[in-house]
């Protein structure tokens, strides 16, 4: 990376030469990636480029075929490691929110606080209510997910992950399933999380958001990193032909809308 090391915090995540194959199809072909504390790293690329697979691999929901994933210098891809323990340190938010349908908004957040972190019911509730207040959904605390808009559900899902104070937060296209007018409220929350020091690795299609908020942008195509760099440089001065083509294609589509 071109940034000088002393202006960066400690390295949280270090992905080294990660390969992932399904049957005989290689989805990730030697990915190297670093996330430093407090940074937002944005993964961009078209569908099928491997963004989601990479995020799921980091959260150990996929088993990688080769390489290393170091979280605070510990190789979490090692099968001898306690996977539940690792997942406790990494939050993941899905494109389709995946809130628990049988639990209220409040209970969705308190579930892991109580059963993973072992907080008492009252303590978990207090903490969850504070988080709901932060995203303006306090009065919806006792509603069930199907009564909320997509944006509200997604913000709840993000808070459910943030509640556990994860070392690293993974966001997998969290705005892709939302109506355009609901996208901004979720992006606003991510901006807010960055301001409070959360380290985030996110797959996204929101180019302007990536330019404004991400520290580092990584362009994936066909399972390899084509180009990466500080957000401003990346968008203003892309070097690889495939990057230029991809950005033009997305911008043209955004222009049409």
């Amino acid at each position: 990376m071109s940034k000088s090391v002393n202006e960066l915090g400690p390295m949280i995540l270090n992905v080294k030469g990660v390969w992932k194959s399904f049957e005989d199809k290689d989805v990730l072909k030697g990915i190297d990636l670093e996330v430093y504390r407090g940074q937002i790293v944005a993964l961009i690329g078209s569908s099928g480029s491997g963004k989601s697979t990479l995020l799921r691999s980091v959260n150990l929901l996929e088993e990688i075929s080769d390489g290393q994933i170091l979280l605070n210098d510990v190789d979490i891809a090692d099968p001898r490691i306690n996977q539940d323990e690792v997942r406790r340190q990494i939050g993941l938010v899905f494109q389709a929110y995946n809130l628990f349908a049988h639990l209220s908004i409040l209970e969705n957040i308190t579930l892991a606080l109580r059963h993973v972190q072992g907080l008492e019911a009252e303590e978990a509730k207090t903490k969850a209510l504070a988080l709901l207040d932060r995203i303006g959904l306090l009065e919806k605390a006792n509603e069930y997910p199907d009564k909320l808009s997509g944006g509200q559900q997604q913000r709840t899902a993000i808070m459910r992950a943030v509640a556990l104070n994860p070392t690293l937060l993974l966001l997998d296209e969290v705005t892709s399933a939302l109506d355009p007018e609901l996208v901004s409220e979720v992006l606003e929350l991510i901006r807010d999380l960055k301001a409070s020091g959360t380290s985030i690795l996110m797959a996204t299609h929101e180019l302007s958001f990536a330019r404004d908020v991400a520290d580092w942008v990584v362009f994936l195509d066909g399972g390899v990193i084509i180009e990466e760099g500080p957000a401003k440089d990346f968008f203003e001065n892309p070097k690889m032909p495939r990057t230029i083509e991809f950005l033009q294609r997305l911008r043209r589509r955004a222009g049409e809308q």
Binding site: N59, D84, R87, N98, L111, A112
Partner: protein, 289 residues
């Protein structure tokens, strides 16, 4: 959109006309339903009463005095059925759920257990209940296990019912567990919940909701199958009726027992309908058709 907002406008002429028409149509439907039901009942009644053997059938199946005489014994027997029902229902829930969970285990170390559970379900879904009753009811005492003492037949009946119904209920539970979308599991695991916690806190609560209607249906079925323990000699409602039948040389006690079983089933059937409807409403909100 709140109700007060919806009420703020005053309906137009067109809407009032529509409402009047809908009301008239509803009244007409009710009237037609009433008349057709009445006509059918009258026809069925006359067809029955005018059949040549009716007086004798009435005498031997619907004799009021015999019914009154037999009633206390049959009710006594029914209490035994209720006890058997209570214990076998609990047994079926626990054992059926255990079987279902065993079948979802994926670790290779559990392969023999998984296969055993599967074999069990195959076997007991295929075996006729009455044969299981005979095998348990006469086979277990035949083992002469002295330390168990003399096991009452109703206990053996309860065991046989539990064995058979657990196989059905296990399949219902397993279907429910598999019907919970995999993304719910992923979300739970990504929060750091273990496999067991994910099952207990996320998958099973949703699975229970999904299988409530078929589960109630199996309960209704169990409710009347408890009458089969009479083949082992337990003096339940059916057996008591049989004794009364022999005493009065009249079949009315069977009808009494039958009606009592129906009365027992009605609340459960209604509850099952209610639960099913409520779930259906929740899952397909909106739409008039």
């Amino acid at each position: 959109m709140s109700n007060s907002e919806a009420r703020r406008f005053s309906p137009s002429e067109i809407e009032l006309d529509r409402r009047a028409f809908r009301l008239a149509r509803k009244r007409k439907s009710t009237l037609v339903a009433f008349i057709s039901t009445l006509a059918f009942a009258v026809f069925a009644w006359f067809a029955l009463v005018s059949s040549p053997g009716w007086p004798r059938v009435e005498q031997s199946f619907f004799n009021w005095e015999t019914a009154v005489e037999a009633f206390p014994a049959v009710i006594d027997g029914l209490l035994l059925n209720l006890r058997v029902l209570f214990f076998s229902a609990i047994g079926v829930l626990v054992f059926g759920l255990t079987l279902a969970l065993l079948r979802t285990l994926r670790s290779p170390i559990f392969t023999p257990i998984r296969l055993l559970a599967r074999g069990y379900v195959d076997l007991f879904r295929g075996l006729p209940l009455i044969i299981v009753l005979y095998l348990v009811g006469f086979g277990i005492p035949g083992l002469r296990l002295e330390f168990l003492g003399r096991i009452p037949v109703e206990v053996l009946g309860t065991v046989a019912l539990t064995l058979t119904y657990s196989a059905y209920v296990a399949e219902v539970f397993r279907a429910g567990i598999e019907a919970v979308h995999p993304s719910q599991r992923l979300a739970a695991r990504s929060l750091g919940l273990t496999y067991g916690q994910t099952m207990k806190l996320v998958v099973l609560p949703q699975a229970f909701r999904k299988v409530a209607p078929p589960l109630m249906n199996d309960f209704v079925s169990l409710q009347k199958d408890v009458g089969l323990i009479s083949v082992l000699g337990a003096v339940d409602a059916v057996r008591a009726a049989q004794i009364e039948v022999a005493q009065f040389a009249n079949f009315t006690p069977y009808v009494v027992a039958g009606l009592l079983f129906v009365l027992l089933a009605i609340p459960t059937v209604r509850a099952a309908d209610y639960v099913t409807n409520r779930l259906a409403k929740r899952e397909q909100a909106g739409g008039v058709l």
